[in-house]
């Protein structure tokens, strides 16, 4: 009997999600005895043609990580969608936009200009700039289109399941893989992680005071946090109360606050706004000047609260600046 076939693919991502698959350790061997990985660009030498040669729906599942920003990524995920019975948005970038999604704070022209014209590491004068078409001796080369903003995977294709995390915890990967292979399919649209907040599995949760109150916000590099005491109670912006569980609090075990990579639970629509709400209401300050000073201690609110979810948020990206009666600058 042939084994069920699966594919792994990456879009705008860092490779950490691929590492997470390798982090299955011995389970990786068990996994390869359960399934045939027929496409995995980072690890195996199969090409796009090999995917095109598959029957539609021949793959049991495609695990796609990374946000989507180029026409090439769109073509590849559309192809994998056609060939797959189930598509799993794998990792924070595919689910919520992830770190690459913070590029939605800037317009594309500014990004290209910074990277190819102004970066201090460039040769002066910067002479190389990506073009849609470039002529070389061997012929005409073309680049994929860079979209004006970063999208989540389900902006672009129909997604069956979501497996968040930066990177997804191996335990959840294994659970998802075995469920799919054994046909124990969850409801479409399900997030394959517990639907409770991280505090429920945090080892420091017992030390969380009955009434949390923070007199000032502090950042991890400013002091050595007590590893035995709830990080929020020490003034660190720990987003555990707003974030889905499933990672077994690995960051907190490393004495670092939760930054929210698992995203929201199903009760929340806009992760950043909700996380902001929880953190702001902990402040002990109650006069304007004090509140202004304390909130200024969170130097990068978007990067703090929407670190992994800007493209999936209600506002999605920075708005066009308005001048006078609505003209966009």
């Amino acid at each position: 009997m042939t084994k069920p076939k699966v594919a792994f693919y990456w879009c705008a991502s860092c490779g950490g999600c691929e590492e997470a698959v390798v982090d299955l350790d011995e389970d990786l061997l068990a996994a390869t005895s359960l399934v045939d990985v027929v496409f995995w660009p980072v690890a195996l030498d199969f090409k796009r043609e090999d995917v095109e040669a598959l029957e539609d729906g021949e793959l049991v599942a495609s695990f796609i990580n990374g946000a989507v920003r180029t026409s090439e990524q769109e073509e590849m995920v559309a192809l994998l969608r056609r060939k797959s019975q189930a598509v799993v948005a794998f990792g924070s970038c595919a689910v919520l936009g992830g770190i690459p999604g913070l590029a939605n704070l800037y317009d594309r022209e500014a990004i290209l200009s910074t990277v190819y014209r102004e970066a201090p590491s460039l040769e002066v004068p910067a002479t190389t700039f990506p073009m849609k078409q470039t002529r070389v001796d061997e012929g005409e080369l073309s680049l994929p289109t860079l979209w004006s903003s970063v999208c989540t995977l389900d902006d672009v294709i129909d997604v069956d399941y979501y497996l968040p995390g930066c990177a997804p915890p191996p335990r959840l990967i294994w659970a998802a893989l075995s469920a799919l292979v054994e046909g124990r399919l969850p409801e479409k649209g399900a997030v394959l992680a517990p639907d409770v907040a991280l505090c429920s599995e945090c080892p420091l949760s017992a030390t969380k005071p009955e009434k949390l109150s923070v007199s000032r916000f502090r950042r991890p590099h400013e002091f050595l946090a007590d590893p035995e005491l709830c990080l929020l109670a020490q003034g660190l912006v720990c987003l555990g109360p707003a974030t889905r569980a499933g990672c077994e609090a690995v960051c907190i075990a490393g004495n670092m606050p939760c930054t929210g990579c698992m995203g929201p639970t199903t009760r929340v629509t806009d992760y950043g706004a909700k996380a902001l709400s929880g953190i702001a209401s902990l402040l002990a300050a109650d006069d304007d000047a004090d509140i202004t000073a304390r909130t200024a201690e969170i130097v990068d609110p978007v990067g703090t609260f929407y670190r992994y979810s800007l493209p999936a948020s209600l506002l999605r990206q920075r708005v066009g600046e308005t001048v006078g009666n609505g003209a966009i600058k």
Binding site: S71, V95, L105, R117, P125, T127, T128, F129, P130, M131, K132, Q133, T134, L143, T145, L146, W147, S148, S149, C151, D154, D155, V156, Y162, G189, A190, V191, T266, R267, V268, T269, D270, A273, L276, S277, A280, S281, L283, D286, D288, I291, T295, I298, P301, V302, F305, L314, L315, R316, Q317, R318, V319, G320, E321, T322, G324, N325, G326, A327, I328
Partner: protein, 189 residues
């Protein structure tokens, strides 16, 4: 995340009111969603009405039990649904029916304003005012002031308006290709 979509919704009549706004109308008439606490500001708005004080029709009031009930998600949802500004009205400090709900609102709005600033939303678009039940005139004054400020500021143009999922799938997204730049002379390595 399809299973969570739409959890934060403005009341239906509010969404309908926003939907009927013609964005092309001249001159620009702003839409302001106001979240008023039932004990103070909402009662004050009621009094302004009873006293026949006219104020800007830009305001669409949503009654909350307390300004502390204001989830910042409501604010971003209002902007998402087409509001040009959001006004929050609560009891004066010390007067909260639930003791400190208004302080929570104050802290949330302060942090939210700084976050919205990073997203290009001007501070005038989010306003918090303490208005007690007897201050009908303050409702009138604040609503008129804010409507006038927003009229001068112009409509909020969300950059993502052309970026709905179905449009992406239908392929008529407005992504320009990078060759629309004026590149400096391109060379190949």
């Amino acid at each position: 995340m399809p299973d969570t979509a739409g959890l934060v919704k403005l009341p239906e009549e509010m969404a309908a009111a926003l939907a009927t706004d013609d964005t092309a109308k001249q001159p620009f008439a702003p839409t302001i969603v106001a979240f008023f606490c039932t004990w103070c500001t909402y009662t004050a708005a009621d009094m302004a009405g009873l006293s026949r004080m006219a104020y800007s029709p830009a305001i669409r009031v949503v009654r909350l039990m307390c300004s502390g009930r204001l989830d910042p998600q409501f604010v971003v949802a209002a902007f998402r649904h087409g509001a040009d500004g959001v006004l929050i009205g609560g009891c004066h400090p010390g007067d909260c029916h639930y003791q400190e709900g208004n302080y929570k609102a104050l802290r949330r709005v302060a942090l939210l304003r700084s976050l919205l600033g990073q997203l290009g939303i001007e501070p005038q678009r989010l306003r918090l005012e303490w208005i007690s039940a007897s201050e009908g005139e303050k409702v009138q004054r604040v609503c008129n002031e804010m409507a006038e400020q927003l009229r001068e500021l112009g409509p909020l143009r969300l950059g993502s308006q052309g970026l709905q999922a179905e449009q992406v799938q239908n392929g008529h997204q407005e992504y320009l290709s990078i060759d629309t730049h004026d590149p400096v002379e391109a060379t190949t390595p």
